[in-house]
Amino acid sequence: MRKTLLFVLMLLLTAFLVACGSDSDDAASDSNSESSGKETASQDSSEDEITLRVAWWGGQERHDRTLQVIEMYEEQNPHVTIEPEYSGFDGYFDKLNTQLAAGNAPDVIQFGGNLNDFVLRDVILPLDDFVGNELDISLHDESMIDSATFDESFYGVTLGTTAWGVLINKTLFEEAGIAMPSKEWTWEEFQELTPQLTENLDGTYGAGDFREDGFGVFLAQRDKFTYKDGEVQFEPEDVKDWFNLWKDLRESGGAAIPEVQVAASQTPEQSLIVQRDVVMESIASNQYSAYTGATEDEFELYPFPYNSETGKNGISLRPSQYFAVYKDSPHAAEAAKFLDFFVNNTEATEVLGNERGAPVNSEVRDNLIANANETDAAIYDYISLISETSDAPFIPNMPGYNENTQLFTETSQIIYYDQKTVDQAAEDYYEELLQNIEKYVNEEE
């Protein structure tokens, strides 16, 4: 007995030493590569050698493509070494917040819809000084530039354009024996269709809740907006109408029952539509391939049902993610140059493709559309459909993005489980929302 234990301990120790040993080997090879880097730099002596830290989150596909572009950039700019700091989404922002607090954040940082909260907290560098020099945004969509502009300063380049839409499981429509609606459908048609689908399918509901994103589109169809020009531009009445719409849908059998809806995961692969719990769900267009890849069913992307009175679908193009520069970055100009390469260079954008959404540079986008595969083509088609059919302006996220999204979900659930009437819940929501926004905006003054 004791011998076995001793043996295992020895084994552990040996493995430990081996691991240590090879670790120092790595360090040695690292320093080698560094010194070879120096040699190339000395040939190009006009510029100093620098290291840029670039952080993003994503999955395998995104890591692969982004790393490839980084290699291309390093090849063309031998004085720059890029230290990629990538991870999955879990923990990304916790780590970033900690790094920001300790003054140790990367130079280039990927953000999502929460960029505004970081701009408000004054940790992002305005890029205005570089625009037109290191960074060319002349071919970028105006609305995407607007989306990253706060107090007349420009803070980040858009990595991909996306738009909300309704994902429809075509296979299930066929199984239900119901014809696909036209792409100019209305809420009335939607209300009629969904209970039929539920009826004709076993254990599948017509639609899953369109959530907060759907509410934003719903408002835009009425020419109202969640948050524009620094204020909330809708009334408690609009909230009531939205929640009543869904309450009616649930009562008619068209929308998923609370127990199914609440258990839904945010992750595309585990969503209700992939698991055949619902036929329709609202998604962002850049997530389309994640959804289609997780099932053998056939999906199609539709605009939201139109408001039959105003004749609008209310969908606007939105940025999926941004690259922004850390305020205390010692190499801001170099960072701006990297951003320029990342979104404007033809080869780089060909590698990146549609993974973060449709490219923001119109020339680049045209180039990609010409070479798109089937899935990507569906997304580009959808984006151009939206550009043609909608004049809805871009609506920035409300300050306090995380907290408000959670508040909206909580309110929906309160209504699902009849803990409050729709009217009461909507009014409470509105009140707390105004308080939250005030809190985030005032904090900075």
Partner: protein
């Protein structure tokens, strides 16, 4: 063996196996998912499937570019092994002092030690990060291993205190008669008689360090430093496209070392080593 003991033995086995199946279900499900094509993992969640593939293992092992999962195993193993050795030595030292020796301020230190467990980790995260940043230790294994060398795992100190106090003091005294000093009592009496708790500490330290996602994501920045839990999350983007097949495949592989460690060492918890001889 009479029939009634035989029957009760069989019943015990049946009972254990039935409950064991409940315990085992998630792992079976994970293994089955790891062999499914990605388009079927969530659309057909049953354990049984008609289509099997090794694709997930291939994709998962080849994480990105030239990085393979083997690197993460190496890094995790290094950190866990150091943590085990460090905890065994430093926690048992502190526990020996608390359990066996008399010294001024003992109660105060003991209370301080317990208090360090009571404060939720999130509250001290940022100041702690700042310390390691000032020391220039970010993106190395130092923030993950040095604290263990400094006995910051109060859980194990307390655990060992409880076990050391279960060792009869007569043994110390007879050792003193034999001319043993305080240090020899620690090495010759306390440690050899505490094999079960030392093994327990090793198992837990190894497994918990292996699984510790949050502090590892915080302190390790670049992929060459990444560990198994970070590697697993590299496949996951809840906002976009994830490779769930790879996650399951690599989760299965990463269970192998920790399950093996547990399986090999668990018997020493119960059988101990040569303890009965001394006790009797």
């Amino acid at each position: 063996m009479d029939t009634s003991t035989k029957l009760s033995r069989t019943l015990t086995h049946v009972f254990i196996i039935l409950f064991g199946l409940i315990m085992l279900y998630p792992v079976l499900w994970m293994v089955s998912s790891s062999f499914k094509p990605e388009s079927l993992i969530f659309s057909t969640p049953s354990i049984f499937s008609d289509t099997w593939t090794l694709e997930n293992y291939k994709n998962g092992w080849q994480v990105v570019r030239d990085v393979t999962f083997g690197l993460f195993f190496k890094n995790s193993f290094l950190i866990s092994a150091i943590a085990v050795v460090a905890n065994l030595i430093t926690c048992s030292m502190a526990a020996y002092a608390f359990a066996r020796l008399r010294f001024p301020l003992k109660k105060l230190w003991f209370a301080c030690m317990l208090m360090t467990i009571m404060l939720p980790a999130h509250a001290t995260l940022i100041p702690q990060y700042t310390i390691f940043h000032e020391l220039g230790w970010i993106n190395s294994i130092l923030p993950l291993t040095v604290p263990k060398l400094l006995a910051t795992d109060a859980f194990f100190i307390f655990l060992m205190v409880q076990f050391f106090r279960g060792i009869p003091k007569e043994l110390d005294e007879s050792a003193i008669m034999d001319g043993c000093g305080i240090f020899q009592i620690y090495t010759k009496i306390i440690l050899p008689l505490s094999v079960p708790v030392l093994i327990t500490t090793s198992i837990f330290t190894f497994i918990w360090t292996w699984d510790d996602f949050f502090s590892q994501i915080l302190y390790l920045n670049t992929v060459d430093q990444f560990t198994v839990p970070l590697g697993l999350r590299l496949f996951l983007d809840s906002q976009g496209q994830s490779s769930w097949g790879s996650v399951f495949a690599m989760s299965v592989i990463s269970l192998v070392p920790i399950t093996t460690v547990f399986f090999i060492f668990q018997r020493y918890i119960v059988e101990g080593i040569a303890t009965t001889g001394i006790k009797g």
